[in-house]
């Protein structure tokens, strides 16, 4: 790295290193900075309070075509609207990296698919998920049948909706989850 400017204090670097290497850290910071160079200062030692609006985050090439990008930004942002600080940004890519453990990913996946934020994935959440997954090309009947099947298979406490435990129990049996819930950046 040719840039000798200090971006973080050593304590900040140490804190941020949970889940990343220092080089990856710096790479992510430059991505964040390049989204809005005039808003994000290069020197973060004074812990400035900078928040990038959702439109900038959603236009990143890694997220641009993801049908769930709005939910991802909402889940990881502090204000719940999708406007992210650097901390939120780093958290997001840390949870979606290949080193994040399964439980952490399952937790965040559950929150992404919980559209109405009520700590349960109910039928309406499932329908919205399905429509995003298939670009609204399934018929009403098919959507209804698939939702019924999903709830049948995963609902362990029989309350008609999926709680976090049901979701995690189902994720344990999915071999591909760790590799699909992964953004390469």
């Amino acid at each position: 790295m040719g840039n000798k400017q200090t971006i973080f204090t050593p304590q900040q670097l140490d804190a941020y290193q949970v889940g990343h290497s220092a080089r990856r850290e710096a790479g992510l910071f430059y991505r964040y900075h390049n989204l809005a160079p005039q808003l994000v200062p290069l020197d973060y030692t004074s812990k400035p309070d900078v928040k990038l609006p959702y439109e900038l985050i959603g236009s990143m090439p890694e997220l641009k075509d993801n049908p769930f990008r709005q939910r991802i930004a909402q889940v990881f942002s502090e204000d719940g609207e999708g406007n992210m600080t650097l901390d939120d940004f780093l958290d997001m890519f840390s949870a979606l990296s290949e080193m994040a453990p399964r439980d952490l990913k399952a937790y965040y996946a559950f929150k992404i698919y919980d559209f109405n934020d009520d700590d349960y994935i109910c039928k309406s959440d499932l329908e919205k998920t399905l429509n995003k997954l298939t670009r609204n090309e399934l018929t009403e009947d098919e959507v209804r049948m698939v939702c019924e099947k999903v709830i049948d298979e995963s609902d362990l406490d029989n309350d008609g909706r999926l709680s976090l435990e049901d979701f995690q129990h189902m994720i344990v049996r999915a071999p591909d989850f760790l590799s699909t819930f992964h953004i390469r950046i």
Partner: protein, 687 residues
Amino acid sequence: MSWARERQTLDAGQIHYGPHQSLRLRERPSNSAVQRPPQFNWNADQPEEGAKGRPRNLKELPLPMELKKAIRQVQQMKVPVMSNWQSWKISKSKTMKRFLEESREVLAYVAPWRRTLHKIGGHFGGGVQSYFLFLRFLVVLNFLSFLLIAGFVLAPSIVFQSSPGNSETQNSIDQIECMIYSPEPQSLSVFYQYFLDLLTGMGFMEYSYLFYGFYNNTEMMNLQLSYNIPMAYLLTTAFYFIFCLICIVLRMGAVIRDVVKTGGRAVGGYSTLVFTAWDYGLQGNRATNLKQNNIRYQLQMDLEEERIRKVAASLTMAQTVRLYSLRAFLNLVVFGLIGAAFYAIFKATQFSQSQTGGDFLDLIVQYLPSIVITAANFLVPFLCDKIALLERHSPSTTVILALLRAVFLRLVSLGVLLFTLWNGITCNGVTESAACSVCQYNHKQYPCWETRVGQEMYKLTVFDFITVIAVMILVEFPRRMLVDHCPCKLAQFVGRQEFVVPQNVLGLVYGQTVVWTGALFCPLLPAINTIKFIIIFYCRKITLFQNCRPADRTFRSNSSNFFFLLVLLLGWSLATVALIYAAVMIHPSMGCGPFRFLSMMWSVVPDSLQLLSNSSRDFLYFMGSQAFCIPLFVLLCVVLCYIAALASIYGKTVSLLQSQLKMEGRDKQFLVKRIKELNSASRGKKR
């Protein structure tokens, strides 16, 4: 609901956890059951540290950065009290873990084509990637086998070829006509003869290190070292087979572990599909559209299967009987087709073995068995697919049936070829008949029968390779150009090619089985196969990226990986049976080869054992005797029973834990209901 906007800054060591919390730790004041926010257990012991010296479970919790910083500071202040033994154990386990991680990284780095496989998996999914992983496994297996054979058979043969001190025993005079073997090419040869010889393995290729006939039964008996080439030849081949078996079984073990970990076939098929099918790493409009189509197709397929199952369950008795009799008839038709293919292979092989010659027309005759086998392997599955439409099975059953039929066809057609060769060599097993009585084999037609068998396997390998290249150039590229540039409806209907994984994998298994069968008779065949598979890897990669579209139907990779390895194991057993039969039951050629003066190939081992010292000889005899084998067998049975019992216990534990999970959910629901009732009761009492 208004959420607090501020987040308190943290001083060193102090944590404020008031109503101003970050998004992730908010307690939602909803009336449903509480979703526990991730807690951090301050009192837990920290016996294990991560490789970088940081406590591992800190990374696993979705806590805000400041909180993690604070926790780490507190943990560093804690000094665990441990005995010397425990601290030594912990430091040793840390070193071991670090070493294992680094060696795993090095292995992954050294493994060839790592980046290519990654790219393929990203673009086309796990099913196609599993084909390329299988191909890479076979390349590595073949290369290691070649090193084995080169080290123990080829190099000593080359070295001892020209050195004095070989001993060659003489045969008895009256079998002189069996020793006639003259594979030297004619002096006047046409210019394209070399090319033809390269393709058929005859002429200048026949008497070379490529085939069995060239090796001598030299036994080096120097003062410093002694090397018995026939023994090395046989034992290297045997060890090569055992090495392949071990590799396949190890790989199967790894695959089974994955399958068991996830509870076998995806029981939660729909939920897994909905929640884990979307690949978050996909970029670009085209890739996401394809993935969405993919998911939609899979869901529709699953629903269709459900519908078919319901329809099948609701048939009347008369309709069921009619369906089953139709299916039985169609199965007979399929068996008839396969039997016809076998007969065609039998006739073709007989005809081709009886002809010899050197010009182009005879080239076709030489390759006739390979052509017939390849044509049968293409036509018969195609017809079976059309027939399967009438059978009206569910889609997954149809796929499995087609695969089973294709596997049966491929492996047994190779078996028919070997059977026909055996017929010719041993006069249908009747060694007293006219042609075979002198030398115990048909010496007029097969002066060196091992080389001939090796040549057949060589021709099969070469033809398989040529077919792959020819299909790629003559079928796949033109099809893609037609689809891309011709606006006619037929082209759009046919569409771009799809990479069909099962058929391609069966082709690989077939090629590898041919190599195994021919390894005893053509020692360089694994080397040729390594090169062939490497070229096929690159060809398939090019065709995948240029000509294919991502499959509509994804291939379930985890359970099918196991199936492919099982089929490979089946091919291996076929080759082993052929090897054992050839080594033990058929008299080796007297005119060529390292076993020319023995009555069977295996007898070189007992003969050499006589030369050992008394004690080692007695020890080996003891190992082969009943006094050792029967207790060993009994011990192995006991170990097998123990492992089976262990496996059943684990299975029961897993199902017990699953039912316990369900029970806990119900308990929670019950308790919440009771709390509500009590609350409303007490509220009612207050009024």
